[in-house]
Symmetry: C2
Subunit: 194 residues, 2 copies
């Protein structure tokens, strides 16, 4: 153990009350419902920004790991919901590669399309698919900066064998972003748009 301070991604305890450990989430509708619920409650309960994500087993719909934006509580600019979900899914499965042969294929479900950093994390995670709710332009519209992403980020993932599904429950996902902005929530990126 080094004397340098460690950094821990620790989910807030309301997630335990929200999620029934016995339940599976078969199909993108149920998966996205959960992820949007995570994004909404993360704001309502004051534990971070309006973004949720989760890793699920593709076939069974079993939840491998949820994630919420923890930028403020973890004091870490990199603690976006997708990063948290991928990191915790690695711990839950006992290895960094969610695509390793002894594991069932997994998908990353995100309440908003990824920023430049989270986009870059998707190929490293080993997931087979990325499923998104709100569009990145919806995040930009309320003041979040999505960063310098390659213009055709969807194709870049598909070319790496990662299926991309967009606009799943987009209105509901976008509504959480808009409610956050309207209520004066902190736009916490290091650099603001405009």
């Amino acid at each position: 153990m080094s004397r340098f301070p460690a950094m821990t991604f620790q989910l807030p305890d309301w997630i335990d009350r929200l999620i029934d450990p016995e339940r599976a989430y078969p199909g993108v509708d149920e998966q996205m419902d959960l992820v949007i619920d995570l994004s909404r409650r993360n704001v309502e309960l004051g534990t971070g920004g309006p973004f949720g994500a989760a890793v699920f087993e593709q076939e069974s719909g079993r939840l491998v790991a949820p994630g919420v934006n923890l930028v403020v509580p973890s004091s870490s600019a990199i603690a976006h919901a997708e990063i948290v979900a991928v990191a915790l899914a690695g711990v839950a499965t006992g290895g960094f590669d969610l695509g390793r042969p002894d594991l069932p294929p997994t998908v990353l479900v995100a309440s908003t399309e990824p920023c430049a950093m989270c986009f870059g994390a998707v190929p490293w995670s080993g997931v087979s698919g990325l499923i998104c709710g709100a569009r990145d332009e919806d995040a930009r519209a309320v003041g979040f900066d999505e960063g310098p992403k390659v213009a055709d980020w969807e194709t870049a993932l598909v070319e790496r064998g990662i299926r991309v599904t967009r606009d799943v429950h987009r209105p509901e996902a976008r509504a959480v972003l808009e409610a956050y902005a309207t209520s004066g929530g902190t736009i916490y990126n290091g650099r603001r748009v405009g």
Copy 2:
């Protein structure tokens, strides 16, 4: 505390023996020397991949936080050296934004130019500059995948007010990558090149 497992970035304890807490690192040469040393020892001591990084105060050269690649020991695909350094620097300074007005300007020094994910993390970190050793093509040459980055990633950072300095001790930094590959070290990205 949620029942879901947490994920912790914990530096290996050899870093305490390497780094004198009283010492500052004024100037990019001393800073890069340390970061390359981190990358080399991380391999030699078996604690992760051949990548080191650190956040320094720009003027004083004070070390804010070091980072090494912890992908394998942390079971997290996202635990690249730059991500670890930025996360620990946030904890060390008590906030997610290293660019906040009450802190001195900081730089992120990396032994190799960032992958797509780490590139995307730089604007969120709040650092004023990025200083790199080996080129991304040096990492690619030994089998690491740098991911789908915007073609002119340097300009994209400069346009956001982040100064970029490349090729600092590039031969020494590249030599660590080459030694790692020659010795048969795991190329641990979720997706391999080629």
